[in-house]
Subunit: 118 residues, 2 copies
DNA sequence: CTCGTAGTACGAGGGATGTCAAACTACGAT
DNA sequence: ATCGTAGTTTGACATCCCTCGTACTACGAG
């Protein structure tokens, strides 16, 4: 029963109006989190946490995903044992027009410029 | 001698290629610093630190301006006893096209939306 | 039911950060 | 030379942040 979505566990997300620019910028100022966001932006739809190959442990990964969610950058839902994550493009574009695209372009540009290191 | 610029004291600035997106975002994730940058963006030319009416002490102000300078967001030079600050628009636009404008627009939008509090 | 996998919770450690006060330096004006 | 203004430096303090390991919970498969 219950569709593909909606398990017992619920994840708190800030409403769109609650999203603050400073908090978003702080969330994206960490290399690991910026990398997560970049990968999410290139994915067609949502990804599970375990699809990322990050240079940190599981608990640290959980921490970073939570920071991203609580800042309003990503949306997360459970699907079985997996936790799916996706960018909150709609809300961010509405709140800060052009910002997400500029940020992603900047991140991509820096990545291309500096090579594979970061 | 010596023109209106160039005193004995020199301030270290990162080269354009050394500016990192994560560091810039971190610099802008502080409310006080974001406010400084917003004020600088509306000014015709450079401003001295004392032109800002910030809710922190002088030493904290010094700290915030240094973070902004070392992250590559602003450029600072001494002119007499005053320290002039201005946005590094040219370098930032070259490095991250559209980012600064999107950030400033986002900050202005949030300010308008939330009123005078922050 | 039992097991394995995905992710969480709870400290804890170590470093960075924002804040301040107090003493200090640099420069211009008188 | 003296003073005042602008900004710096240093040290301290509280807090936050990233990281980890270990123990834990939730769900699906067999």
């Amino acid at each position: 029963m219950a569709e593909t979505v909606a398990p017992g566990r619920v994840l708190p997300h800030p409403d769109r109006e609650e999203i603050r620019l400073e908090t978003v910028l702080h969330a994206l100022s960490d290399p690991v989190r910026l990398r997560i966001v970049r990968e999410l932006s290139t994915a067609a739809d949502e990804l599970s946490c375990s699809r990322f190959d990050l240079p940190v442990t599981k608990s640290t990964t959980t921490h970073h995903f939570r920071v991203l969610r609580e800042s309003g950058v990503i949306r997360q839902t459970y699907r079985g044992t997996a936790k799916m994550s996706g960018l909150r493009r709609d809300d961010l574009d509405e709140l800060f027009p052009g910002l997400l695209d500029a940020l992603l372009a900047a991140a991509a540009g820096q990545h291309a410029r500096l090579g594979e290191e970061a």
